[in-house]
Symmetry: D2
Subunit: 181 residues, 4 copies
Amino acid sequence: MVKIVAIAGSLRPDSTSQMALNLAAQRVEALGAEVEVLDLREMRLPFCNGGDEYPDYPDVKRLQEAVSRADGLILATPEYHGSVSGVLKNALDLMSFDQLSGKVTGLISVLGGQPNSNALNDLRIILRWVHAWCIPEQVAIGQAWKAFSPEGKLLDEKLSQRFDQFAQSLVDNTRKLRGVN
Amino acid sequence: MVKIVAIAGSLRPDSTSQMALNLAAQRVEALGAEVEVLDLREMRLPFCNGGDEYPDYPDVKRLQEAVSRADGLILATPEYHGSVSGVLKNALDLMSFDQLSGKVTGLISVLGGQPNSNALNDLRIILRWVHAWCIPEQVAIGQAWKAFSPEGKLLDEKLSQRFDQFAQSLVDNTRKLRGVN
Amino acid sequence: MVKIVAIAGSLRPDSTSQMALNLAAQRVEALGAEVEVLDLREMRLPFCNGGDEYPDYPDVKRLQEAVSRADGLILATPEYHGSVSGVLKNALDLMSFDQLSGKVTGLISVLGGQPNSNALNDLRIILRWVHAWCIPEQVAIGQAWKAFSPEGKLLDEKLSQRFDQFAQSLVDNTRKLRGVN
Amino acid sequence: MVKIVAIAGSLRPDSTSQMALNLAAQRVEALGAEVEVLDLREMRLPFCNGGDEYPDYPDVKRLQEAVSRADGLILATPEYHGSVSGVLKNALDLMSFDQLSGKVTGLISVLGGQPNSNALNDLRIILRWVHAWCIPEQVAIGQAWKAFSPEGKLLDEKLSQRFDQFAQSLVDNTRKLRGVN
């Protein structure tokens, strides 16, 4: 069975990146994959110091082991200053080739202004660096503050369809590339 | 008098990014600029949560105020996973247009392997986003573990000359763009 | 007197990139700069073969000499496949450090869909490579087919103001960086 | 049977990009795929004018049809000014989603100086734009003038192994993603 780990790079209490991540996670689950959402707001991670050992931070191991077991990833980031959030990049810095190589990844970004691909482009190149795959389908949500209903539903039907295509592609292609069901 | 703030995105005790930053800072100082090095290893910064207020972390204000007063910046980053470190990106996330716009910036990256421009490219686009300038001269130090003497001197004369050109361009062009001496 | 050369990377007869370029050129001229528009639709350029000599194509020399004499550039590109057009990249390939180094450049992109910064980002990195400057102000025109009146005027007032800021920054900063009036 | 089309973006008579392309093509063929090399030096292509019809240039159709039939692509580019050559970008501009979407692509770049990933990064983002896949394995050949023997063999054994891994990944993953043998 396809195993997906989902991580969003926002620590805001009412984060739309986390809403977008949960929405994607639900649709991926509905297609028969197993999804584990790692909420960075509930984990205690250190800043990466270039080393391998963080004995005071057991959540580093938890993060690494969850990603190790996964076939694929969903990464969602708020676009801060035209790029991936430092929070998400730091979480990726705490992992390496060992955990990330060969994983099939779907990318989501969330912005206050017009949708834009900068953070998605940066994530794509970062994941290539550790030899992960990124699916061509990606989602950039612009003017995120008005994209969701209070219940966390997408208000734009076309955007909702993009999430469907995103989820379908992630599950189908993880199956193909990883040889799992 | 030109004021430059220098920040490196590595927390390693014997960080070569910090060595490279100090070296650049010295050469910029030798050209008559005032340089303040903010060592992130000695500051206590939180992960950015998308908000503006971090009452428990006075170093956020210290960072913001130092950059506000500056005409220019030197940013050095280890290249982690083919991009800027999460540590440095998070420090930038803690600032905004208010502090960064219009600043003249010089960029340095440090890698274990072959030199590469990925992190420098990402920083250039990030700084554009907040309407800062980046000078065309930039330095990527490959195989950083063998670039420095134990005293923190560069072993390669050509690389040392690149630092001279970098410092000269940063000081000259900050003067021109900011109208300071 | 500030000299600016303006080049757009579209060969379409009714190109909106060329319209955008002309509009920027007029505003830059109105600020007291001298602007020469090189219309690639009226020049005969070869594909770059990596060499320096194109004896059958006198327009290569014309392009190189016009850019050599300039203090700054305006480059406009249609965004094809999320990047700069091959037409514009090829025109840049026909030049080198000799012509482009130190020039102060303003960047414009034109898209059929939502505005996006991909082509602008690529141009910024390309121009850095030849040690040119890019001003932080840039313009991405989305849904370009409905952006202009039949007379080539911008229909959106806010976009028009962006062109004003773009022109002002290009002229002011070319003066500062190049030491010309 | 896996069908691969191979295209290099250099028009130089003794192009090392073309040498690198041929080498990759041979190794892919040795793994049981069918490879068609389209040598742009022997095709007559126009500059893309944003339109769909090029009646005077039958090679546009030939290019489009060959890529349409393919499952995957090898693209090699000289890195000009820190990016993909205008020649290759223009060839891609002459195609669209119709030909390129879903294709599995391997990327190679060739430079005079130190190896660098800029052109490869740009190609990866361009191909994503048309919903093609790029394999994580990629090859950047630095100091290309001394990389090959006069017979077009690679002189560096480690680089030669990278070509083997590149070819293996391209064939294996094209099989998986496209469901062909």
